[in-house]
């Protein structure tokens, strides 16, 4: 077993047995990040010194008998999470100079669990993108094929895990930003129920949709991380006060009697046939595991992308107003007056996609258009949620592809926003409904990974993780590593 292809669970065992110290593991991964992994452009800030100090601290607490399962395991944070004393850029020129004075809740939780943060992962600017091409720090490359995108917006996190630069990473998912890059990079990524993980300190894109989650090689690893990340935080009013199950202990249950719905809308036009056959093969595996399948309909699926592209931009147009060049972030040189300060600071600080969404969102909220766009989109959102709720009357889980295609090439869709938006067609509805979803590796299409998506009912992460874990016990897609980064 080589360290950089190990799972969190394996590293945890190795640490517990004393095979390796946290410092050794951290040094290996730091070397990967700064060495051959640097070509991926997956990690944009490396905090080697702090990481080694944290690793030493983890080793000391282990020596003192105070280690938990994650103590000493290295990881990286998506650069959307505020990290005290460390640049938190959100992939934007706007925050290229922003050193956060405080830690996000998730950052504190994982640090408290003993994890060693090695740096910050690249991402689409302000989490707006599905290819990681909108980052101010340049595109991230897919470890399976460096001509391909890693997906987005948590593309840096996905590529870091896939390329063996870190065994785990945090991500955020507003319309598929954990699941789609997980699928495109061949790793496992979980978007929890909205409200399961505190959003405090996570830079907001679309507040009613954003949710943080773990990205790792396996469902088991995601379970371990989610246990540490989830839980009530009074600083986030939308965070739900509800016990956190021991997800990792609940794995290993069989799937006999589990009913899985196959939404016919997820297998229609636009789905790449190679992806479709990989999903069919996965369905066959699940049948062998004892799951029963039922065709269902999520009739309003076709409205998810349009509704999302009203609600998310509307919220982002307001959320991003605080970046005005006044208190922090980019400020233009010698502004003539206040208006010039605003216009140039924002014009220079934000990239094209961010500006596009701010404009769309501003328009959708304008007097005279609000009812036709924002209010209508919220009504559609309720219909979409109702579709899911009705489906969950009959089924325990819903299964389908994570994305209609495998990774596309860098530059291929960057001039066509709508085709880019459609790569999230199967993930967006889950955010609109606030449900949990997971993407697990399920094969390849022309050498590029294919992801299988499972969707669960509210706060049913345990069942979701168990189903993903069961599949990973009988398949080895999640163990494959890209040759160039083996």
């Amino acid at each position: 077993m080589s360290i950089h292809t190990s799972t969190v669970a394996e590293l945890s065992t190795a640490l517990a047995r004393g095979d390796h110290s946290s410092r050794e593991l951290t040094e290996v991964f730091l070397e990967r990040i700064q060495g051959q992994g640097a070509a991926l452009n997956a990690v944009i800030t490396v905090t080697a010194e702090q990481a080694l100090a944290a690793a030493d601290a983890a080793d000391r607490s282990r020596a003192a008998g105070e280690a938990g399962p994650l103590t000493g395991v290295p990881m990286v944070h998506k650069d959307i999470f505020c990290t005290r004393g460390v640049r938190t850029s959100c992939g934007s020129r706007m925050l290229d100079n922003f050193i956060s004075p405080y830690n996000a809740h998730v950052v504190d939780r994982l640090a408290a669990a003993g994890m060693v943060c090695m740096g910050k992962a690249n991402m689409d600017e302000f989490a707006m993108g599905s290819s990681n091409e909108t980052s101010f720090y340049g595109p991230v490359k897919n470890p399976w094929d460096t001509a391909a995108v890693p997906g987005g917006s948590s593309g840096g996190s996905a590529a870091a895990v896939s390329g063996g630069l870190a065994p785990a990473a945090t991500g955020t998912d507003t319309g598929g930003s954990i699941r789609q890059p997980a699928a495109l990079c061949g790793i496992t990524g979980l978007k929890p129920t909205y409200g399961r993980v505190s959003r405090y300190g996570m830079i907001a894109f679309a507040s009613s949709l954003d949710q943080a989650g773990p990205m790792a090689r396996t469902a088991e690893d995601c379970a371990l991380l989610l246990e540490a990340m989830a839980g009530f935080d009074a600083r986030d009013s939308t965070c739900v006060e509800r016990d956190v199950p021991r997800y990792s202990q609940a794995l290993g249950g069989d799937l006999k009697g589990v009913t899985i719905g196959l939404p016919k809308e997820y297998f229609g036009e636009g789905l790449d046939p190679t992806v479709a056959s990989a999903i069919d093969a996965a369905i066959a595996e699940y049948r062998k595991l004892g799951a029963e399948f039922r065709e269902i309909s999520l009739a309003n699926t076709h409205l998810a992308v349009p509704a999302y592209y009203v609600i998310a931009p509307a919220e982002c147009s307001s959320n991003l107003s605080r970046f005005d060049g006044v208190r922090f972030g980019h400020r233009c040189d010698s502004p003539r007056d206040l208006e010039d300060l605003y216009k140039r600071s924002r014009g220079e600080g934000f990239g094209d996609e961010v500006q596009r969404r701010i404009m769309v969102g501003t328009y959708a909220l304008s007097a005279g258009y609000y009812d036709a766009y924002y209010l209508k989109a919220q009504q559609v959102r309720r219909l979409i949620r109702d579709d899911f709720l009705q489906a969950f009357e009959d089924v325990d889980l819903i299964l389908g592809p994570t994305s209609p295609t495998a990774a596309f090439n860098i530059g291929e869709r960057s001039d066509d926003p709508v085709s880019m938006y459609l790569s999230d067609i199967y993930t967006i509805a889950v955010n609109l409904a606030g449900l949990p979803g997971i993407s697990v590796p399920a094969g390849f299409a022309d050498g590029r990974p294919v992801g299988l998506q499972l969707i669960g009912n509210y706060f049913d992460e345990a069942r979701l993780l168990n189903a993903a874990h069961a599949y990973q016990q009988v398949t080895d897609w999640h163990t494959r590593v890209p040759e160039a980064f083996a």
């Binding site: 004075p101 830079i203 907001a204 009013s237 919220e315 307001s318 107003s321 208190r327 605003y342």
Partner: protein
């Protein structure tokens, strides 16, 4: 043409919570700039608002005191606009669904008439910071200490017809929020301020005229002056064939005039939408009833009670109940004075208020406690001192010379009621003024006053005036 003025007020009352409406930072006034602004108030990336439950309780208290409905479900909305002292680029407010709506207050006018003024709504929102221009060369300073301070915006119906009515309404709300202890009412510090919407219409016409909104009036005097200026400006405009433009105006208290700040065309499109960071505010009827049970006696009820229990006139009861502090002080004085309510009312509204005003003090830091004042009144009613001497005693108490008995003792101000002693003084005075005695006996009754004065002088003011009068009359008539 005869014009009718139509006025509606939007009052901003800063709620007296210890911490801000969406963060834990202190709301205390007067700290060094930006020392009371935490990450949430600064609008740092990633921070989130958490609603202060105390602010909600205060809004409910206000709603109950004005007969408003308390919404079981209300929503916080974002009001989006850019300004340097608005850190997030939006203000969290309430828009379509406010927490409190549809109530009324009864105001009393100068002529003693009462009038109903509708309260359209009251909603919770956060205050912005302050832009500082003084002491900065070529730049603007931003102080975010005030950012996030809870405000209750109280919107009246357009029921007011004159500047005087507007002031009476504002005073009523001012009194209410202080009774409810939800706002300190300090207008100088901006804790209580208002915007006035003013329009004119021909008398008899139902349709409203175009209104101008005068922003940020922070004294009763300014409200009256600004509205009166605005009324004249609009009438002049209309009568000279012009039209009123819908706009926001500022009152210049130095020049005593209003001037245009921005017109409707320049107004922001605030793009209100429900704040996704905050859950809708749900209030149960049980919670409302719990709060109702903690409401204090309100000014109108207190006034009625003062008239019934103490036999005060409507005017006196109104003055005494205008502020809760004064009403409480009065009642404590009555108690200490063994029920001498009318005497207490006169002293509280008279010398006591006068002394407070003279020294610029609040009731809370009066050097004379209700027990001290009541104790003195007892000495008036038991004839230990006269009302005149009491004024000296009061001043002495005010200046820290102790309570009434101590002052009377130390200064020897005890009234002389021994008729023998008074008669002796009278005899001396009569003997010293034979001429006046003759004139009096010749029918010049007015000279009685002269003799009283002389006797009082001889007693250094301590002789009981009633006894002096009585005994003098007897002796003078021989």
């Amino acid at each position: 043409m005869e014009w009718e003025t139509v006025i509606g007020l939007e009052i901003h009352a800063q709620l007296a919570t210890r911490s801000k409406i969406f963060s834990g930072a202190s709301t205390a006034y007067g700290a060094e700039p930006n020392t009371q602004a935490c990450a949430v108030d600064l609008g740092l990336p990633g921070v989130l608002p958490v609603l202060n439950a105390e602010a909600v309780n205060m809004a409910i208290r206000f709603g109950l005191a004005t007969g408003c409905s308390i919404a079981p479900h209300s929503v916080f909305a974002r009001k989006n606009y850019f300004y340097p002292d608005l850190p997030k680029g939006y203000q969290i407010s309430q828009y379509e669904l406010p927490v409190v709506h549809e109530g009324e207050v009864i105001i009393e006018l100068d002529d003693g008439e009462t009038m109903r003024v509708g309260v359209t709504r009251a909603h919770l929102e956060e205050d912005a910071g302050k832009s500082l221009h003084e002491g900065f060369e070529g730049v603007t300073g931003i102080d975010l200490n005030r950012a996030g301070t809870p405000l209750l915006e109280i919107v009246s119906e357009p029921d007011l017809r004159s500047a005087k009515q507007a002031v009476a309404y504002m005073k009523k709300i001012h009194s209410l929020v202080r009774y409810l202890e939800i706002c300190d009412g300090n207008m100088q510090e901006g804790s209580f301020r208002c915007d006035a919407n003013v329009s004119m219409r021909p008398k008899g016409q139902e349709k409203f005229g175009t209104r101008a909104e005068i922003k940020n009036l922070n004294s009763f005097r300014f409200v009256e002056k600004a509205i009166n200026y605005e009324i004249e400006r609009q009438i002049d405009l209309l009568e000279s064939g012009g039209t009123v433009v819908q706009e926001t105006r500022l009152y210049d208290s130095v020049k005593g005039e209003t001037r245009s700040m921005r017109t409707k065309e320049e107004a922001n499109d605030y793009r209100y939408f429900p704040d996704p960071d905050l859950l809708p505010l749900e209030i149960t009827s049980e919670e409302v009833e719990q709060i109702r049970a903690t409401l204090p006696e309100l000014p109108d009820a207190k006034k009625e009670r003062f008239m019934a229990d103490y036999g005060l006139s409507a005017y006196d009861a109104g003055v005494l109940t205008a502020s809760r502090d004064q009403a409480d002080f009065f009642e404590a004085v009555v108690q200490a004075a063994d029920g001498e309510a009318k005497l207490a009312a006169n002293w509280v509204m008279g010398d006591f208020s006068g002394a407070l005003n003279r020294d610029g003090r609040e009731i809370g830091d009066s050097p004379v406690s209700p027990e001290m004042l009541g104790g003195m009144l007892k000495r008036i009613s038991d004839n230990t001192i006269s009302g005149k001497i009491a004024k000296d005693v009061f001043e002495a108490m005010w200046n820290g010379e102790g309570d009434a008995d101590a002052v009377i003792e130390a200064r020897g101000l005890k009234q002389v009621t021994d008729s023998g002693a008074i008669e002796a003084m009278i005899d001396e005075v009569i003997a010293a003024n034979p001429g006046q005695l003759e004139q009096y006996r010749a029918g010049k009754d007015k000279l009685l006053g002269f003799f009283v004065g002389q006797v009082m002088k001889a007693s250094k003011g301590k002789a009981n005036p009633a006894q002096v009068n009585e005994l003098l009359k007897k002796k003078l008539s021989g």
